[in-house]
Subunit: 314 residues, 2 copies
């Protein structure tokens, strides 16, 4: 698959909703998504890749419709049995979901790359898109809070984002490499747009941007790079984006997000509820209803993002 | 728990039925069972201890009533999901069962011994008996067949015991050590009997006997060592014992089993269906109905085994 037309940069649930839209409107095999792996962690001896799995489950039509992680029609007998023998249960692993973690871990230990494993899973799920880990090298998001430094999942799941965030660090990012598959996506002759999905810019997108080769690939991209706002009317659709922005002393607005991405961006899509802010952008800003409750919503936002990019094509 | 009164030597399902009997008739904390770990293997990156789990599930009342492994009321969503992503499914792991394998593997990797992990699991299951791995050192049963050498589970589960057995080997046994807990069980001042359970002598008991320290502990035991026949009227109650005996050129009879254990034994319990053989034994042989279909059967056979030992007390 070298005929990539859209390359998305994405974290978990918010980004996956946009991926779903691109996947719906683009021809098979022409979507690639570079996914945050800064949230990956080892738990119970298993390698868990939450954002990759959310992308896989979403595009495979297996995702839980509301909870933002895991599978629909999941069962929890592993978890109940683990609890009965005193195992750690703060991170919920469904019986079916567990299969991905066990098989991924086995293959990683056997020397296979996360990129190759993810490609195999996507094929088995019948997904005609390139779901790519941001790197095959380990990057670990660390959250520096008023209660000390926390591993990402300790902050996000165990502590439910309660501690106040002071800063974030992405261990391993500075030496992480792009995979050949990621380079190929950037180099696709068919590429029309690179779209930063409406994931949490600080928690979910920054780990990707902290990889020098990825940032450089974005900077030198020959197609427009556009972002879809994760902030609507001063709030995040889901998750702690607004809370973290406030804790970092940043105004909770789409303008702040655009400024955060800075000169990486050629265009910004803000929500119609924030239409009044459009004039404040130093880059071209389009307005759309960016809420994605249904697959149709996702397709509409994806279409708008591509149109924004096409209009800004150099 | 140092007041061990009965020490059982056991493999999987056949042995566990006798353990169930001892557990029922003995005061809490006075049964110890040394369990075969030659069948243990790494599968999907998980450390699986089939015979230990069968003992745990049986004494916890969680065992599947018919199939001889695994739990009652099990679900199989992990397995179905694993199959959907192309994982290996020849060894069936139930959703709840999986919790033991994941937690055991995690703890082993963290440096805990199998003895300590098993004790912890037993406590969590509310089992007032000492279920002890035969050793904390790895021993791997290898089956030499007419189709080449096979790892135990490849022979037993994947190939369903179809290849003809020529010989067995227990890799690691000669240097495997007894745990302190196993030594303590042998040294218990309350010990009345050591009972070799009606597990497969060649597949399930020989791995234990191949450990020099364990064989020596049996040989120098100050209490009677008795065995309960795994062969009734020329057949094994369950599993490939009779098939293997035939393939090894051994007459399929309780006498062959007693001869196999040789001078380790002070007494042998044969089934009433083989009462005619009683005179052929060079050691004292008691006769009982040794079929254990119900917990009551198990208690009755356990009682008989203890009585046999008590009568033979030096």
């Amino acid at each position: 698959m070298t005929a990539i037309r859209v390359l998305a940069i994405s974290g978990g649930v918010g980004g996956a909703k946009l991926l779903r839209g691109f996947y719906r409107i683009l021809p098979p095999g022409t979507l690639a998504a570079l996914i945050n792996t800064g949230d990956d962690f080892e738990h119970l001896g298993l390698h868990i890749s939450p954002d990759i799995d959310t992308a896989l489950y979403t595009l495979a039509g297996l995702a839980h419709p509301e909870q933002g992680w895991g599978r629909a029609d999941e069962t929890w007998n592993f978890m109940a049995a683990l609890e009965s023998i005193g195992g750690e249960t703060w991170f919920r692993l469904g019986d079916a979901d567990l299969a991905l973690h066990v098989e991924r871990t086995r293959r990683l230990r056997a020397g296979e790359t996360l990129t190759s494993i993810t490609r195999h899973f996507a094929e088995r799920f019948g997904i005609a898109a390139n779901i790519l880990p941001m790197s095959d090298d380990r990057v670990a998001t660390r959250v520096i809070t008023d209660e000390g430094e926390l591993a990402f999942q300790d902050y996000f799941v165990r502590r439910r984002c309660a501690p106040r965030v002071r800063a974030l660090r992405f261990d391993g990012a500075s030496s992480a490499r792009l995979s050949d598959a990621a380079r190929a996506a950037f180099a696709s002759g068919e590429l029309e747009a690179i779209v930063i999905a409406p994931s949490n810019p600080w928690l979910s997108i920054d780990p990707l941007l902290a990889i020098p080769a990825l940032r450089e690939a974005l900077r030198s991209a020959t197609v427009p790079v556009v972002a879809v706002t994760p902030i609507i009317a001063g709030k995040a659709v889901k998750g702690p984006t607004a809370k973290i922005m406030a804790e970092l002393g940043i105004d909770v607005s789409p303008i702040s997000v655009a400024e955060h991405y800075g000169d990486l961006l050629d265009g910004f899509m803000l929500d119609s509820r924030d239409a009044g802010d459009a004039d404040c952008f130093s880059i071209p800003a389009d307005i759309a209803d960016t809420l994605m409750n249904t697959p149709d919503d996702s397709a509409r936002v994806a279409e708008s993002a591509i149109n924004l990019a096409l209009r800004k094509r150099p």
